[in-house]
């Protein structure tokens, strides 16, 4: 009981202090209640009445998307629309019937309006008709007394100044579905859009913003007498991309009329400077709703214009895979810089013969000259010596067949086979499978973005991750600093051999891409061509005087090119794919030449114009009907 002697009184004292605080807190609440309910009653009573001074929520302006120098890639333009304030109409269905007699409404529109009328909280207005013209507006205004609750106001729709050049990368927005609108009241506001693909989808949350409130005084007929207070809300954040619009346009122009993809990365931090995919489409169509005929045309188009080839097109890498195979073999010790394989023009394994592109043979080849001249036989033997496991592991280290964490939706990783992969698919892996891996044929598939990543990683020896978002509301996002990326842990001497081979491929007469060498003084690029077959039948090509130009278009090989520059301190890396372009040197390398020339003369990497979150207030000039 001794311990009770002192702590009892201490408890009593302190408990009474705590009790005193509680009394004071209740006192404060009561005082506040008195002030609000008794002293300020008149003010609040008026406000309550004036919930016929109606508060209407306004959809916020969607955030802008800009390139790294502030060029607007996605903005908003304004148009007229008719909204219906449920709280102001005593008989909404009668009003709706009168409205429909003035303005033509389709059955679909009627169904949507009726659905909204049934299920909306009263403070969220219902959209009656979007994109009004002058005649419609005049008819509504003249009949205003008969249309209580109907108001005409300005809405905004998405504007893509550079469509369709950027359609895949920026993506598009569309009206939220009924289920989405039911789940999030913000989306139920008329005029709200959700991002459905590309950056619009990846950064949807930042772009949305938060809604504003407009206080309007209504008369007994539900007509707006005056606007008391209008708060436009907070516009969505400006999303600044790493793209350089000039380079992007150049990429689009150079691909025009062909099918393929072109990507330029900042090799030191993986920022995407240009990313084009052709053919393309007009993203603005999704904002209003795609006409059914257009949709059917897209679906029926064999060239799949809606597909973003840059991130989800799967291609055999062809010879652009050879630097990876070389690094795998060097890394596991299967070959060294001094290893020489003789190329007689073919390679026999068992009773199967694998041919080199050069039927007469390259003679004695080391790893540098084999990359320079794209000797197939050297890489058949190198792949066999290294083994498929090492090749697969190196490919994944360089960014192929693995999730790169790109901040865009729908990015495919591609695939690199290994024994585990084959076992799961019940494929009996034979040595011949490994041999063709050496020249990037067979089961390996890459996306252009992973190929560009491979080029950047070989160029820098650092595990850079490709990404496109640079700043949101002016705040620099993760991934912009080169030091954030870990080293690949590859032997510098091995990397030097492969880079030397790629340098000689572009800058020596014997190289496969000599014609695409840079003509700028004092700067050189390194690269690797590729020609990847799209069908498995090679027998035809063994005929003398065979010419791809004579085969049907769909069966011609794809042309590929990867490169980086400047050779001494790589800053830019690129990957180009032209479907059915036949020779990488002929179709893909010239595009890379132009893009690299642009990149090196303008040098956009590491520079930007920081855009604050307030740019959207300036917006684009309103375009009213």
């Amino acid at each position: 009981m001794k311990r009770e002697a002192k702590r009892g009184p201490v408890f009593t004292r302190r408990a009474l202090i705590i009790g005193g605080v509680q009394v004071a807190a209740f006192g404060a609440l009561a005082t506040r209640l008195y002030r609000m309910q008794v002293e300020q009653h008149d003010r609040y009573a008026t406000l309550a009445q004036q919930n016929s001074i109606s508060e209407r929520l306004i959809a916020p302006e969607r955030g802008l998307i800009t390139d790294r120098f502030g060029t607007i890639l996605a903005g908003n333009k304004q148009h007229w629309r008719a909204l219906f304030m449920l709280s102001e109409a005593r008989d909404p269905h009668a009003v709706l019937a009168r409205f429909a007699s003035l303005i033509a409404l389709s059955d679909d529109e009627m169904a949507r309006i009726n659905h909204d009328l049934a299920g909306r909280p009263r403070y969220i207005p219902v959209m009656l008709k979007d994109y009004l013209d002058w005649d419609d507006m005049a008819r509504i205004e003249v009949n205003a007394p008969d249309l209580p609750g109907v108001i005409v106001d300005v809405g905004s729709s998405r504007l893509y100044p550079f469509a369709p050049n950027l359609a895949h990368t920026i993506g598009y927005v569309a009206r939220p579905s009924q289920t989405e609108a039911a789940a999030d009241p913000l989306l139920a506001l008329p005029g709200m859009r959700v991002g459905r693909s590309g950056v619009e989808r990846a950064q949807d949350e930042a772009l949305r913003g938060s809604p504003g409130v407009s206080q309007t005084e209504m008369n007994v007929h539900g007509q707006v007498v005056r606007v008391l207070n209008s708060d436009p809300g907070v516009a969505g954040d400006t999303v600044q991309l790493s793209l350089d619009m000039g380079m992007q346009q150049l990429a689009g122009q150079r691909l025009q009329g062909q099918i393929g993809s072109a990507i330029v990365l900042d090799a030191t931090n993986g920022e995407i400077l240009a990313m084009a995919s052709e053919p393309s489409f007009d993203p603005a169509l999704f904002d209003k709703g795609v006409p059914e005929t257009q949709w059917k045309a897209w679906m029926g188009d064999k060239q799949h214009p809606l597909t973003d080839r840059s991130t989800s097109g799967l291609y055999a890498p062809g010879s652009t895979f050879k630097p990876t195979v070389a690094l795998a073999a060097l890394d596991c010790g299967a070959i060294t810089g001094a290893t020489i394989f003789n190329c007689p023009g073919y390679f026999k394994l068992g009773n199967h013969t694998f041919y080199c592109d050069l039927r007469t043979g390259h003679g004695d080849m080391n790893v540098v000259s084999a990359i320079q001249q794209s000797c197939d036989v050297f890489f058949y033997r190198t792949a066999l010596a290294a083994g498929i496991e090492h090749i697969a592991a190196m490919a994944k280290r360089l960014g192929i067949g693995t999730d790169l964490g790109v901040d865009l939706p729908g990015v495919l990783p591609g695939q690199v086979p290994d024994r585990e992969w084959a076992r799961k698919r019940h494929i009996t892996w034979v040595q011949g499978n490994t041999v063709v891996q050496g020249i990037g044929q067979g089961y390996t598939t890459v996306t252009p973005i992973s190929l560009a990543t491979m080029a950047a990683r070989i160029a820098t020896g650092v595990a850079v991750g490709p990404h496109i978002t640079r700043r949101i509301a002016g705040v620099m996002q993760q991934g912009a600093v080169a030091a954030e990326y870990p080293s690949l842990g590859l032997d510098e001497r091995h990397l030097a051999l492969v880079r030397q081979g790629m340098f000689e491929a572009v800058n020596t007469q014997a190289g496969t891409a000599y014609a695409a060498r840079l003509t700028l003084p004092g700067v050189a690029m390194a690269g690797k061509t590729g020609t990847a077959q799209v069908h498995n039948d090679t027998a035809a090509e063994e005929v003398a005087n065979f010419n791809f130009a004579n085969v049907p278009y769909d069966e011609r090989p794809n042309a590929l090119f990867v490169c980086f520059a400047p050779i001494e301190a790589p800053r830019y890396a690129a990957a180009i794919i032209v479907e059915h372009g036949i020779w990488g040197a002929q179709s893909a390398a010239p595009i890379a030449h132009d893009l690299m020339t642009y990149a090196l003369t303008r040098d956009p990497a590491g520079r930007d114009t920081p855009i604050g979150p307030r740019l959207s207030e300036a917006g684009l000039a309103p375009v009213l009907p």
């Binding site: 009770e4 702590r7 209740f26």
Partner: protein, 381 residues
Amino acid sequence: MIAGGRRPFHDRSFGLVRKFLRINWLFVLCVCALAGVGYAALYSAAGGSPTPYANDQIYRFFAALMMMLAIALVDIRIIARLAWPAYAGGVVLLILVAAIGHVGLGAKRWLDIGGAHIQPSELMKLFLALALAAWFQRASHERVGHPLFLIPAALAILVPVGLILKEPNLGTAVITAAIGGAIMMAAGVRWWKFALVIALVAVVAPIAYHHLHGYQRQRIETYLHPGQDRLGAGYNIIQSKIALGSGGMWGQGYLHGTQNQLDFLPEKQTDFVFTIIAEEFGFAGSIVLLGLLFSIVAMALYTALRSRHQFGRLVALGIGMNFFLYVFVNLAMVMGLIPVGGVPLPLISYGGSALTAVMIGFGVLMSVHVHRDVEFSQDEF
């Protein structure tokens, strides 16, 4: 040996009936009155209908009332022995929430067990009060000042607070910390130690904030200022203030509140239930309700002061503090004084999780009241 010369409680062979009669029936009456007010408010919230809220809630209340009375008859020393196991169980549940919890409203707070939603942070507040009370029950006045004695107690507070913060549920985390702090204060921890902790938090918080990434800071900003969110909390608070203010002295009459009946408040049956009473019964009705709520807090403090063992005192104080904080945070939010949301008005708001947790706490409180004179042996707690 026995203070005041009275015989210890356990020596009088009290049967269940005597225990039952020792329950503070005035307290039970006040609890039932509050549930009655809740029924009326929910009836009005549904536009003058017992469904879907009012009947549902009153059935839950009766079940919880039975549970409360049952717990009241359990010997407080048995409850004391269960304090630490309950605390450990609570922490495990919180970790489970973090691992597999249900994501609702952007935070992981709920756990699905056998189809029932439970929110472990609600129970954790009670378990923390029990555990701390058990800890300080063993302490003499001198020992309370010893750092080696205080550090485990501080850790016992920090672990659940940290886990609740991670959910993230800032409101409940602050309430939990405040309950822990109140118990330590009542146990006799020196004032300057509290000052030290507060000073430390004041110094560390800005530094920690400074070291966060830009996007993490943005997230915290949005959490602290829901008022910018016009469709959510911001809209509700504007409408809730209008409802309160338009009530006036005597109110607009039951079932005649315009804000309420015209559906200007989307969540009026849960966090904003007070506005219904305030609008329809005015300042007069609000003050009666405030008085009822205060009587609960006051009677909890009375039970704490009457208890002759430290465990009972501290537990009763902690439970009273929990109820007080619920009420204060909810009402301050409804009146637009503080921005933090997500705290219901206990016994009035629609919903089962908070009701059950509060009634279990009241059961323990009544057990303290019934067993206020028992003697804890030196080692027993």
